[in-house]
Symmetry: C2
Subunit: 92 residues, 2 copies
Amino acid sequence: MLSLNELQEKMEALPEWSIAGNAIEKIFSFKTFKDSLAFANKVGTLAESLNHHPEITISYTNVKLVLTTHSERGVTLKDIELAKEIDKIEND
Amino acid sequence: MLSLNELQEKMEALPEWSIAGNAIEKIFSFKTFKDSLAFANKVGTLAESLNHHPEITISYTNVKLVLTTHSERGVTLKDIELAKEIDKIEND
């Protein structure tokens, strides 16, 4: 698990993500529910390929992602890496 | 919006759903994350066809659905109908 100092340093590369408890999270907004679902599927495919799965909440045109590493009860480099990859696919 | 009495009567046909605040919810469990995502997609397709969209939270092998009618700030017959249709596709 990253220390708070380490985490805050890593978060500089993820300005749209925020620390929430033992996780990092970001809300993505889309034009339609279909767009939300399509994004959730892209995130799901990525998560499977990395074998690291965020919590995905689809609320109509918003998708909230919450990333944490359960086995470490906190945020690790796996979460930082996944967040960076997700940001890349946001507007694919 | 349904009255609490009306809602409780309707819930008799939905024994695995529970009332939570101004909504009804149910958690579905699957074997794999892929199964969770596939179910979320089936629910999404159904929601689009009914133009009534639940909140869908995918947490690895669990999918939580929260149904409410925002315009009425509570549970309506649209939610009851959607819950029944979702139960039908759960094991498709």
